[in-house]
């Protein structure tokens, strides 16, 4: 069963051991709450509709005061039931918290995710320094094993939230928070920044692509490679234009562009969207974004570039080789 792309941010149906216990708890508490609401509603309605027969009350003073034992039964039965239900819910909650706190096996893969205004940087760690690479906004994970996510903030508080896979964990400046992801179901899972972080908080999406281990390994090895040199001619012009105009903020390994202010673009074309999900990663989206990011995502850190038409098409042609 593939994740519900029709409701990409839905959290009622989840696909991993970090989220499933919470979802069960969610439904359980909903049912419990509905039951409570139902019972009370019924009792209230009954209480309102079913009235004592209005008999003649001639002498109010003569009515005996009876303490019906049947009334107290509501307390004798109701309170313990409630307490049991609440303690049960508490116990269930604590169990869920323990279950989602850390994975059952030690994660083999660690990804450092840094929240920037308004994009996500993902740095994959490995056993050797030669396995480290950096990408942005789209994280690939292998299925069937837990992946550790270290959450760092570059500026303000953001929140890392993939509804179908886990709850929210903030990125807080000055400290490193820990989250983890695991799923057995290959597919694309959408996420959003869940803590207001400025003008473009609403356009700070993140995607998790869960892949079968073999596919993930192929992707990972491809990401480690530097960008290949373009064939020549117009593409070389495009590379030079890119290095000059974009290299102060962006990195493409294999060229002289080594900026760390914006996302790493070494394998830009392996991503489905640009600007943290705001723009599709196709020729028109790329051209429009580069020409004037402020028109598509006002307030974004990337300034308008004022490239001429020729410069723009040469640069875009080069970028399209960065698979």
């Amino acid at each position: 069963m593939s994740p519900p792309l029709a409701w990409p941010m839905g959290y009622l149906k989840t696909y991993g051991p970090r989220a499933d216990p919470a979802t069960s708890l969610l439904w359980g508490l909903i049912i419990l709450s509905l039951a409570v609401v139902g019972i009370i509603t019924v009792l209230a309605v009954v209480g309102v509709i079913v009235r004592r027969q209005r008999g003649a009350i001639d002498d109010i003073a003569a009515l005996p005061v009876e303490r019906g034992a049947a009334g107290l039964a509501w307390f004798y039965i109701g309170v313990p039931l409630t307490v049991v239900a609440l303690i049960g819910a508490l116990a269930w909650t604590v169990t869920v918290l323990a279950a989602v706190d850390s994975p059952t096996v030690a994660p083999r893969l660690t990804i450092e995710v840094t929240g920037h205004q308004w994009w996500w940087e993902a740095r994959y760690l490995g056993h050797d320094p030669g396995e480290i690479f950096t990408t942005a906004n789209e994280i690939h994970i292998p299925t069937g094993e837990p992946v550790l996510i270290r959450l760092i903030s570059a500026d303000v508080i953001h929140s890392f939230w993939i509804p179908a896979l886990s709850g929210k964990t903030d990125t807080i400046p000055g400290q490193t928070n820990i989250a983890w992801l695991q799923t057995d179901q290959p597919g694309d899972y959408l996420g959003q920044c869940a803590e207001y972080c400025g003008l473009q908080h609403a356009h700070m999406a993140i995607r998790v692509m869960a892949q079968a281990p073999a596919d993930f390994e192929a992707w990972r090895l491809g990401q480690i490679q530097p960008a290949s040199s373009p064939a020549g001619g117009a593409l070389t012009t495009g590379q030079t234009l890119f290095e000059t105009h974009c290299g102060a903020c962006h990195t493409v390994r294999g060229t002289t562009a080594g900026g760390i202010v914006g996302p790493d673009l070494t394998h830009l074309m392996s991503r489905q969207t640009l600007a943290a999900g705001a723009v599709p990663n196709d020729k028109s989206g790329l051209s429009g974004w580069i020409a004037n990011p402020q028109a598509l995502k006002p307030g974004a850190e990337m300034p308008a570039t004022f490239l001429s038409g020729q410069q723009l098409s040469a640069t875009v042609a080069y970028l399209e080789t960065l698979k």
């Binding site: 000059t244 105009h245 102060a248 903020c249 202010v261 308008a304 570039t305 004022f306």
Partner: protein
């Protein structure tokens, strides 16, 4: 004003209706006549032209570029804006300026002090802009291809906020060395979030 209790209508309203017949100009009172409006627009454009004129190529090849003020005296379009100063401060570290000019902008063996009154290539905002954009012979890199103009002005704003730049209006005094004796005092509460009015008043 009288109220007609039977109808509820105010007598004043009726009289206003009467005045309306004499053509109440309403909001249009704020604007001059179309002729005046045209004149205003032309004056504004001329002023524009005056400021930018010296940066354009001369109309006739080989002719003099006459009139107007020196390009060195152009104002920083982001003069005193705290957001520009803050962005410039970020860029100063991000673009590695701090590596040569120092995190305190006091310079060192690689690059000069940006907080004193001594500017080898001129210290007005436009001259600082030019140094950043075009580079300089002894190793200052060229940034006009690497940063859009607005970002370079942000950097200029940050450098100005440190107090040592030459005010645009005083550029000739700067050229003639008359500002060297003035003490360098960063504006009160300078830096991000500073009150722009306070920033301006501290500039001599």
């Amino acid at each position: 004003m009288d109220i007609d209790h039977s109808t509820g209508a105010s007598v004043a309203r009726q009289s206003k209706r009467r005045c309306r017949g004499a053509k109440d100009p309403g909001l249009w009172a704020l604007f001059p006549t179309p002729r005046g409006m045209t004149l205003l627009v032309l004056l504004a454009l001329a002023g524009c032209d005056r400021t930018l004129g010296n940066l354009r190529a001369p109309a006739a090849a080989g002719g003099f570029i006459d009139g107007g003020q020196s390009p060195a005296a152009i104002d920083n379009p982001f003069e005193g804006q705290p957001a520009a100063v803050e962005k410039g401060k970020q860029l100063f570290t991000q673009m590695n300026c701090a590596g040569c000019h120092g995190y305190d902008l006091r310079g060192g063996t690689m690059a000069p002090d940006l907080t004193d009154r001594y500017w080898r290539y001129g210290g007005t905002p436009a001259q600082i802009y030019s140094s950043i954009a075009n580079g300089r012979p002894m190793g200052m890199p060229t940034w006009r291809d690497r940063l859009p103009a607005a970002e370079i002005w942000n950097l200029v704003s940050y450098i100005q906020s440190q107090g040592g730049a030459t005010p645009a209006a005083d550029y000739q005094a700067g050229e003639q060395g008359d500002l060297a004796a003035r003490p360098v005092a960063p504006p009160a509460g300078s830096g991000p979030g500073a009150n722009p009015a306070a920033a301006r008043s501290a500039h001599p």
